[in-house]
């Protein structure tokens, strides 16, 4: 490999790393969702917690992003909101990710 080829490869990897990092941050920002006038992150931890609590109780309390307790009276609706936002965000990330893969080929 000559040095110009190496430089090109290195630049490409750098561009890809930055684009991936920014796309992931964009996805993380989009995970923030409002429910019952409080902010939550529709991340795997929250989804798992709500999914588990939903199996055990009809209503329960969870903490919002600022550690305030929030009573959830409709767990099915809350879980649906979380899952929808999570998948919206991750799907958007996947679309961006596919463009990196195409660029590499």
């Amino acid at each position: 490999m000559d040095i110009s080829e190496l430089k090109k490869q290195s630049d490409l990897s750098y561009d890809r790393a930055i684009a991936k990092r920014n796309a992931l941050e964009k996805a993380n920002s989009r995970l923030v969702v409002v429910y019952n006038e409080h902010l939550f992150r529709a991340d795997p931890e929250t989804i798992c917690l709500v999914s588990t609590l939903k199996k055990l109780y009809d209503s329960f309390c969870v903490l919002d992003t600022n550690n305030n307790p929030v009573e959830i009276n409709d767990p099915k609706d809350f879980l649906s909101v979380l899952v929808t936002r999570n998948q919206e965000s991750i799907n958007a990330y996947q679309q961006v990710y596919k463009t990196f893969t195409r660029r590499d080929k």
Partner: protein
Amino acid sequence: MSKGVLLFCFDTEHTQYHKILERCVRLVKKNICNDITVVTNLETYKKLKPLGLINYKLIQPELGNKKNGLPWYNADRHMAYELSPYEKTLVIDIDYFCFTSNLAQMFDTDYDFLVSDTAFDLSNRNSFDARRFSMIPMVWATVLFFKKNHIVKNIFDTVKYVKQHYSYFTEMYRIYAKNFRNDYLFAIALQQANGFVGYEKLPFALPTLPPDCEVLNISNNGLTWKYNDQISFVENQDVHVLNKEVANV
């Protein structure tokens, strides 16, 4: 409950902030809400293109502050509470381009006051970590959300008090920046008003483009920038652009 966006914009002899405002307003209308109040002065107002139904509040900006040796009219943010006609207000810097509706959902919350405490460097250099010298957690006053009530009124009264004694407070909290910055003003005031034990925050970092990144192009859903010989872009992600040459893009 009324809700809307409050923007501050004052041209200086070096930077045509009104051009940045025109772009910002279009994005706010598209992605956040149609109720917008612009705080500006007569000189800037005269240069603005028609932006549709906008509520204007004309004031004389406080003079004296500088950034990189040039005049910078940013010392009026402490009046946001009085200037906002809304019960729920989003104050956004005009160089924060809302390419998403992420901030719009803040209007559906019941928090009194929200501010972000982190910025995400889109150029991958963590340029904003230098602010760790100070003794208190820093905030980014780029985006503020507040609801009108006596608690928030007290916060803004504290902001005014800290502003009056700004050099004393910055010395006390080991803040080395020589010019006046709303970020520090609000960080100090929130610390004081909340009993030194923390406060509620926006749960995401503000995506920020450092001043040495040159914005090449802005579209309806994102922007492209150049840093050294690297060209990068973001789409459908909010961006806080610190390079004021963006006015000329």
